[in-house]
């Protein structure tokens, strides 16, 4: 049966697992992409896909069809990832109080003479530095940036996902861009 997202969501809500299967098979790849960009880790992204669909299944009754099913699912995925990043952060904070030498790890990778900006002449190498730089953003900044930059979400959608005002969402995107530019500028300058 050729279900539309809306029809499949309605049927799934009534307990039709075949309909939910259609939604899972249709949206898994895009959810994985979003999860990976938000968490930067393949294994975590796989877990997040699973968690996103489980949460979506539980909350199907709340899907009112006002937004596209994919958008609704992205919001759930973003929230699952935020939860994961926040729990990781709190664990890392506890760990860092015991191991302060870890603090400068990523900065060393970007700014230290180690690999040297002179070697970073290809933009693909900038991409290699992107993940450590993204990891330095707050969860909100990273989520806002990924949703804006990679998923093309508008500010209102990001604000709804983060549960903040539009201005705060917009400012989070800006702060993320600003931090990333500062972190990557030395390498980018050399590449140019």
């Amino acid at each position: 049966m050729d279900w539309s997202d809306q029809a499949a969501a309605e049927a799934a809500c009534k307990g039709d697992q075949a309909a939910f299967r259609v939604l899972v098979e249709r949206h898994s790849r895009s959810v994985f992409r979003l999860a990976f960009r938000m968490c930067g880790n393949e294994h975590d992204a796989e877990d997040l896909v699973q968690e996103t669909f489980l949460r979506a299944y539980k909350q199907l009754g709340r899907f009112d069809g006002r937004s596209a099913f994919g958008t609704w699912l992205y919001r759930i995925c973003a929230n699952c990832t935020l939860d994961l990043l926040r729990s990781r952060k709190s664990r890392r904070e506890v760990k860092n109080t015991r191991e302060p030498e870890n603090e400068r790890h990523w900065l060393d990778t970007v700014a230290a003479p180690g690999p040297g900006p002179e070697r970073l002449t290809q933009s693909s190498q900038i991409v290699g530095l992107l993940e450590p730089a993204l990891r330095q953003l707050s969860e909100m900044e990273r989520t806002a940036f990924v949703l804006r930059h990679y998923e093309g979400c508008d500010i209102d959608e990001i604000a709804r996902t983060l549960g903040v005002q539009a201005n705060a969402a917009k400012h989070s995107v800006f702060r993320a861009v600003q931090k990333l530019r500062r972190a990557l500028e030395p390498a980018w300058g050399a590449a140019r």
Partner: protein, 228 residues
């Protein structure tokens, strides 16, 4: 000319041309900054994501389906167990009320039992005193010992009479009231009581059949107390 802030340039980039792009077209400085920003942001587009094949959705479903089944079973089990939980709750409530009621009854019974046994003891001691008075020879009888006994009995008699009134036991309260008046007369009798006073006291005990009443009441109280 006011140049655009970095935030405005970022906003312009993501709004894909909508917004203050006229200024960027006219201002060389802003155009230069915008192009730099655009170059950076576009370079980040190539953030590589591990590729997932066409069958990825099916793989996700294969992992997900058992968890959904389990969840469905748990949900059903919850519905089946819900009436049992409700029944247990009601049973617990009823048992609680019954236990509380029984405990309350038990407490009342033990209180009444103590009272009845104390009353029986008191009446037996009073009975001895009354018997001594009944068998005494008025002309020669020395009341000093009985007066002391009567004073001892009087305080307890008052307490027992009040308790009997509170418990609504009018017959016992009446016997104790009669007894109290006699005890009061004995306790307050002058050391040199005349034989006539003594005789009047004996006649009063006799006319009110007090000794008999005290004996019966004492016996009943003991019997009832033992049953409780």
């Amino acid at each position: 000319m006011n140049h655009l802030s970095e935030e405005e340039l970022v906003d312009l980039f993501y709004s894909k041309g909508a917004g203050p792009n006229e200024h960027v077209g006219a201002c060389a400085e802003c155009r230069r900054r915008f192009l730099e920003l655009k170059e950076s942001l576009e370079a980040w587009r190539d953030y590589p994501v591990p590729e997932r094949g066409e069958s990825y959705g099916q793989e996700v479903w294969a992992r997900l389906a058992p968890a959904l089944e389990k969840r469905k079973r748990n949900f059903l089990r919850l519905w089946l167990l819900a009436p049992a939980f409700a029944a247990m709750l009601v049973a617990g409530f009823v048992i609680g009320i019954w236990t509380e009621h029984k405990r309350s009854i038990t407490e009342d019974h033990s209180r009444e039992r103590v009272l009845l046994m104390a009353m029986s003891d008191h009446l037996e001691r009073s009975q001895i005193l009354l018997t001594q008075l009944q068998h005494a020879t008025p002309a020669t009888f020395d009341l000093s010992t009985e007066r002391e006994q009567a004073r001892d009995l009087l305080d307890q008699n008052r307490l027992l009479r009040q308790s009997a009134i509170q418990l609504g036991d009018r017959s016992k309260a009446a016997v104790l009231d009669d007894l109290e008046r006699v005890l009061l007369s004995v306790a307050n009798a002058p050391p040199d009581s005349a034989g006539d006073d003594m005789k009047m006291l004996q006649e009063r005990v006799e006319s009110e059949r007090l000794l008999w009443k005290v004996r019966i009441t004492s016996s009943n109280a003991r019997e009832k107390g033992q049953k409780l």
